[in-house]
Structure formats: C-alpha cells, structure tokens
C-alpha cells in the first residue's frame, strides 16, 4: 500500500493516478506531489501512478515566522521528516547560515553520487529566497561528471571552473548551481524543500529546468 504525507500520513491506493489522489485527499490541483525513495525526491505529474509501497508527499508550504533560529529549526525538522534516512542533514546552530545535505542521490549517470548539496541561507531568508546569487547560493560538489563527461559551466545551472563560482567556494570544492531565474517565491509559504526539489529535477532533466 502506498502512503501520502500531507497534514497527516494516510494510506492511498496503489496504481492510482496522482490526479485521483489529489481529488481523493482534497489536495488542490496546483500543488506538487513528490515521491520520496532511496533515490531521493522526484516530482510526480498528475498522469503518473502510485506504486505499491511508494511514499508521496504533498509538498509542504509553510506559514511561518521569520529568518531566525525558530524558522530554521522548523525547516530542518521538516527536511528530516521528508527526506530519506540515508541523507544526513547538517546545519550550524545557532546561526543556521547553511544547510548541508550529505549522501544525496543526484540522479542517474552522475559521478560522484550520492553526493553533497549545500544551501547557504541569506540573512533575509525567508523574505528573500536562497540560490539567486553566488554568495547565498545552492551548491553541488565541484568536478561533477555526468555519463563520464565533466559537467560544463552552463547558464542557469552549473558553475564550477569559471569566474562565476566564488573563489572561496571553489577552494572548498563547491560549485554554484544558479537559481537566478527562479520565478516564484512566497515568503510565507515556500521553503528549502522547494529549492531541493527544483535542483533535483534540474539535475535529472537539465534541458527542462523549471523555475517556478
């Protein structure tokens, strides 16, 4: 039996379309449903079907407080609940200037994978989103390869051995993954999970990067 995590965990029928699950669970049609597995997180479209034992998440949209420890504690607790146990989530209390995801599966063909993802938290977070610029960016490991080929520095995506990756991040082995064209951010509701979902999707389908 598949399960869905929304306001609470519930059993849902196997082989049902995501569209039907949304209707059945009173989840608004415009909301994202993400499948969580040992492969990481993957957004599921309305036409896809649930699989036996699959765990699906009605992507949380928080109503919450401010860029402060309370927010970060809450977000990290949420990430720990949502992401597979294999992924270590590390932050630096009490400042919470970053969140590190260790052992994260980047997707098929990537080397190294599992790998690490770093999110630097802007001082104005969540009033402004993370990832828009190299200083408060979202980073993957440098020297990343896909299907044996070193990833090239590409606009909207990977910046490793180029002037756009801050030298201090490069020295530490991090490559900036550019979210500069992120198009929507609701300071009341959006959160780090959204950034992780978009990054994961982009890594899996670099040609179809979505910015919303």
């Amino acid at each position: 039996m598949a399960r869905i995590i929304s306001t609470e965990q519930k059993d849902i029928p196997d082989y049902s379309s995501i569209r039907d699950i949304k209707i059945q669970q009173n989840i608004p049609g415009n909301r994202d449903i993400v499948e969580i597995s040992s492969q990481g997180v993957q957004r599921r479209t309305d036409s896809e079907s649930t699989r036996p034992g699959g765990i699906y998440v009605d992507v949380p949209r928080y109503i919450r407080g401010v860029q402060n420890v309370a927010i970060m504690m809450q977000e990290i607790a949420m990430l720990k609940m949502m992401l597979p146990d294999e992924i270590n989530i590390i932050a630096n209390p009490p400042d919470y200037t970053f969140v590190l995801l260790e052992n994260y599966l980047l997707g098929q063909g990537y080397q190294p994978s599992p790998s690490n993802i770093l999110i630097k938290i802007p001082p104005e977070y969540p009033q402004i989103p993370p990832g828009l610029n190299p200083t408060y960016g979202i980073y993957v490991v440098g020297g990343l390869k896909r299907n044996g080929q070193a990833l090239q520095c590409v606009k909207d995506q990977y910046h490793w051995d180029c002037v756009h990756n801050p030298s201090e991040m490069k020295q530490k082995g991090w490559a900036w993954w550019c979210f500069a064209r992120l198009e929507s951010w609701d300071p009341y509701r959006d959160n780090l999970f959204k950034a992780i979902v978009i990054l994961t999707e982009t890594l899996r389908n670099p040609e179809q990067q979505r910015f919303g």
Binding site: S6, T7, D58, P60, R61, Y62, I63, R64, G65, V66, Q67, N68, V69, A70, I71, M73, Q74, M78, P94, D95, Y96, P122, P123, E124, P126, Q127, I128, P129, L132, N133, P134, T135, K155, V163, H164, P166, C178, A180, R181, L182, W185, P187, Y188
Partner: protein
C-alpha cells in the same frame, strides 16, 4: 528605564489583566533591552491553569510555569517583566506583598546571574489598576532595590524639548496647539531616501517645526535630479544629497536644528542608525531598503511611514500614475510584509546583493540594461504624496486627528482612498517580521534563539 510596548499589545494586555474584577490576573512580558529601555516583543498572558493560587490580594504561579518563563528569557537573553493587576484599585500602587515577592524574585535573578546560571537581564514589575492606571519599576542590580520606570507605546515618545515659542509657528499652533508643537520639536525622525519625495518631506517637516533629523542617502546630486529636488541647484551637482538637504533644513530651522547627514545607503550593517528614532520615513524606490526599514521598525519598535510613487508609461500613453503612504505601527497594524503586495522578494534580493554578485548576474544576462534604470519621476506627483505624508505625520505627532494606515492616490483621476483601521488590512499572524517568532522588539539581537513549543506549533505546515 522606560518600557516600550506596542500599542496593540498594551491594549490586549490591559484587557487580559482586567478581565476579571474579583481576582488578580498575571502576565509576563519579554523583550530586548539597552541601558535605557526595554522593548517588549512578547506577551505571555498567564493561562488560568497556571495559577497555583489566586485571590483578590495575591496571585501565585505554578513553579513549572515560572521555570518555563525563565528558560524562555535565558535562551533569548530577554528582559522579564512580571505583570499583575489590582482590579479593585483606582491607583496602581505596589503592595507590601508585591514588594516582598518582587524583591525575592529580583534578588534570585541577581544571585543566579552571579553564579553564571542565568543572564543578567533586567527584571521589571508592572502593576495595572482597575482604573487602567499603570505603575512600572525595574530592579537596580547595584542598589538591590526597584527604581521607578515608565511604560509607553512607540508613539508616546517623551524627550525634553521646550515648546517652540517662535512666532513662525503661530498659524499652525492654532490647528494643533502648543502641546502639538512641542511634540513636533521633540520628535526624532530618520528619513531614508532623499529623492524627489524625501527632500520635499524634509522641507515640510522642517517648516512644521521638527528639529531632529537623521538623513540617510548615499547618492550625490545629478543634473537629472534638479527637476524635482526643491532647494537643490546646478551648483550642487556632485555634492552629497544628505549634506545639501541638511543645509536646507538648517536654513529653515536655524541653530536649533540637530541634523545628522549620513552619506550612506541603508544596509543591514548600519541598521542601528534607525534604533534611537521616534519615527522612520522611507521615501525609497528600492524594495531592499523597504525590507530593511520594515525590519528596523519591527526590531526597534519605531513607527514607520513608507511613501512611494509610480508612473507607468507605455510609449506616449500613461497607464498608471500615483502612489501610496503606508503607516506601520509595529505590533499594532500590519507591517509592510503583511500587505498583500508585500515586499517583492526578487527585487529585494537584487537590491541587497553585493556588487560582485550583481556583476555576475549582469555577465550571465539576468539583469537587462534597463532592469535597474529609473522610472519617470515628476515634481507634481511627488509634491502631492509628500504633502499627504506630511499631513499624516502632523496628525500622528500632534494628535489633532487620527492617522490613516493607508492612503493611496491615483494621479490620473485625482482620487484619494484611505483605510484607517489596521484590521481592515489585517496583521498577518505568521508574518516573517511581526508575526509569531518574528522580529518584534528583538532590538539589535542577531537572531531570536528560542521559541516555545506552542509557538512553534502555530508555525507548522498548514497545507492549505
């Protein structure tokens, strides 16, 4: 020592304390503090089941509740104010029981702070009588006794300015009175942004008799400014805007003016420029500056007036022309982030970026040539909005009429709309700035470090 409590919080606190007339009621206030004041950002209204005993002459709280309150203060390094009511009394006078328990509590804090197990945070007491009269005192650690304190709302500032006696003000004193004029002289105002709006507001406020200005703008005068900056002339081109504006104010106000000209843009690192002010005025066209001003208003509990204009021209066709004034009374009405239009996260992020980051964005093509280029700006529109803002400021300070929380002006149809009740706009309970776990009253503290489980519960995903 003065205790500053948001207007809405104080009203709510008094209602809670005087809800029952036959027994005393209790509350805790928490807030950041400096040498001279405590900024109250959190109110705990003691729930009925947290009283150990409660009568018309005494309240005793459950030990575990007190421990929680102290833990909360310890984690956040907050001052603690122990509040209770004498619902039967006309005058708020501390009783001998209050004196005894108050002193016991305060000396406990002193002892524990000396042992290093509790921070040396101010410990205060507030008493509210049935007549709503209030008495406040704060423990003096050196003298080991309580010293009288004052309790006030952010708009109830009191300094020591003399009533302006100049006959220059005769005509306006007929409107708002001598006390109103004294309050204007007393006001410490910071104006951020000295463009077409800010300069006009400065001039009007100086002519109204405001004497204490902090002017913040990192720009220099350009020839393109001269169409709308009154008191600025061609020989000022290249000069610092803040300096010229300060000179103009001094010409109006004479030697009594106390004007600080800060030739810097507002940044997170210089936010404390706004701490010791009675009123913030933002006449900026950048979302980043608005975000910081809004944050400062919340942190330091200083009322804030945001003024903005906008013109949208599609070729020769003007589609929109107008502006708005938004009055932020921290903790009472909505803050800027609470408005449905809020603060644009992307524009704010762009404004707050370092030069290096902006350069990267430019190189990668995310900033078009025109993305940061200025919009049309004309003196008639600026003049209307500046005058409307000055009008609201004069009401706010002299109290000759109520102040509107929101005034919008449509310049194409010459229409003015107002909203005067905070509730009409709605303060968002979960606002990142003024909501639960927000920044209200936290002063210069980098970050709030701890919230209660029940506060956190209110922040859980609602998924709706």
């Amino acid at each position: 020592m003065e205790i500053v409590v948001p207007t809405g919080y104080l009203a709510e606190l008094i209602n809670h304390l005087l809800e029952t007339k036959d027994v005393e009621t209790h509350a805790f206030l928490f807030g950041s503090f400096s040498e001279t004041k405590i900024l109250v950002g959190r109110v705990w209204k003691t729930p009925p089941d947290m009283y150990d005993s409660r009568s018309s002459v005494k309240v005793e709280l459950k030990q575990d509740y007190i421990v929680r309150a102290l833990e909360y203060a310890r984690h956040n390094q907050f001052a603690v104010i122990d509040v209770h009511s004498h619902p039967w009394a006309n005058r708020a006078e501390f009783s001998s029981i209050d004196d005894r328990y108050g002193l016991e509590n305060a000396t406990w804090v002193k002892r524990k702070s000396e042992e290093g197990v509790f921070p040396r945070v101010p410990w205060g007491m507030v008493l509210v009588a049935g007549s709503k009269s209030i008495n406040a005192r704060v423990f003096d650690f050196k003298r080991e006794s309580f010293a009288k304190a004052s309790i006030r709302t952010p708009l109830d500032f009191r300094h020591k300015a003399e009533a302006a006696s100049s006959e220059v003000f005769n005509r306006q004193i007929k409107l708002w009175g001598v006390e109103g004029q004294r309050r204007l002289s007393d006001l410490r105002v910071a104006i951020v942004g000295l463009g077409g709006l800010g300069v006009l507001v400065c001039e009007q406020l100086a002519r109204m008799g405001i004497r204490q200005f902090t002017l913040i703008d990192g720009d220099r005068v350009e020839s393109t400014n001269l169409n709308r900056l009154t008191g600025f002339f061609a020989d000022h081109i290249g000069s610092k805007k803040a300096d010229i504006c300060a000179l103009n104010i001094k010409r109006i106000s004479g030697t009594k003016a106390n004007v600080k000209a800060i030739h810097r843009f507002l940044r997170r690192r210089n936010l404390n420029l706004l701490e010791e002010q009675d009123l913030l005025i933002g006449a900026v066209d950048r979302e980043g500056a608005r975000l910081l001003l809004n944050e400062a208003a919340g942190r330091f509990l200083v009322p804030y007036i945001d003024i903005g204009t906008g013109i949208k021209a599609n070729g020769e066709n003007v589609t929109q022309m107008g502006g708005q004034i938004r009055f932020i009374n921290p903790g009472t009405g909505p803050c800027l982030q609470c408005y449905s239009t809020g603060i644009d996260p992307f524009e704010a992020a762009l404004d707050l970026m370092s030069r290096e980051d902006l350069q990267v964005r430019r190189e990668l093509g995310y900033i078009e040539g025109t993305a940061l280029s200025p919009e049309p700006s004309v003196i008639p529109l600026n003049g209307v909005l500046a005058s409307l803002a000055s009008q609201e400021i004069s009401k706010l300070v002299t109290r000759f009429h109520r102040t509107f929380f929101y005034v919008s002006y449509n310049g194409l149809d010459n229409e003015i709309k107002v909203l005067d009740k905070a509730m009409e706009l709605g303060r968002q309970k979960n606002c990142p700035v003024c909501g639960i776990g927000g920044l209200l009253g936290i002063g210069k503290t980098e970050k709030q470090a701890y919230i209660l489980p029940e506060e956190q519960q209110e922040m859980v995903p609602l998924n709706n």
